[in-house]
Symmetry: C2
Subunit: 125 residues, 2 copies
């Protein structure tokens, strides 16, 4: 589980962490049942405070990607039940993307092709 943090990024560290773990799951580098490093050890590895990792883990639990257990630690467990809520969230993000694309004269085909390629990429890696 390779994590890389850009300390100069305007993106908050715990958000970068959260994003990379979501992508690792999508890329099937992390599977249901896999254990993540403990908050303390991961914090030590990447050189941040324990609470920063904890915040990312808590967020991922809230979003239905992890289950946290005092004995087993952080275990990947993707909740696919609330799919409608997820679609609403994605819809909001997508609205901004498409708005920008339209303004910048980027066609529907260019965007859907981008989506297609991205789905392929995630399946391969």
């Amino acid at each position: 589980m390779l994590i890389e943090i850009d300390f100069n990024s305007p993106e908050a560290i715990y958000i970068q962490l959260r994003n990379q773990i979501v992508m690792a799951i999508a890329r099937e580098r992390l599977h249901d049942g896999d254990s993540l490093p403990s908050v303390r050890s991961l914090a030590g590895t990447i050189g941040v405070n324990m609470h920063t990792v904890n915040k990312a883990y808590a967020m991922l639990r809230e979003e239905g990607y992890l289950k946290l257990d005092r004995r087993k630690g952080a275990v990947v467990s993707v909740e696919t039940a609330g799919k409608d809520k997820e679609l609403d969230k994605i819809n909001d993000y997508m609205q901004m993307i498409v708005a920008q694309a339209i303004c910048k004269e980027i066609s529907r085909e260019e965007i859907t092709r981008m989506v297609d390629e991205m789905y392929e990429e995630f399946r391969l890696l």
Copy 2:
């Protein structure tokens, strides 16, 4: 030009402002050459500080949506030259969206259908 700010949103006010103006351009409620309200008047209308609006305008200029002029004020002027840079930016956003979609078992077809519908919507309104 109807602007609605959610003061309880975690999204910064100047970002909400920026987003709504981009969407207004995409929806063709704002066209190239249209003037926006002055920073002071818009700030007064929505009940925020002048600097907050100024920050949004400066960001939109930076991103190639507006031109700011001391005499004409803020004028819509969409720069479509740096299309590659825009595609890179959209690619990053899209990567996170697709990652989440894959994790939550949302299919490629569902996403591309969402994009298609969104392009239609923006054309209509």
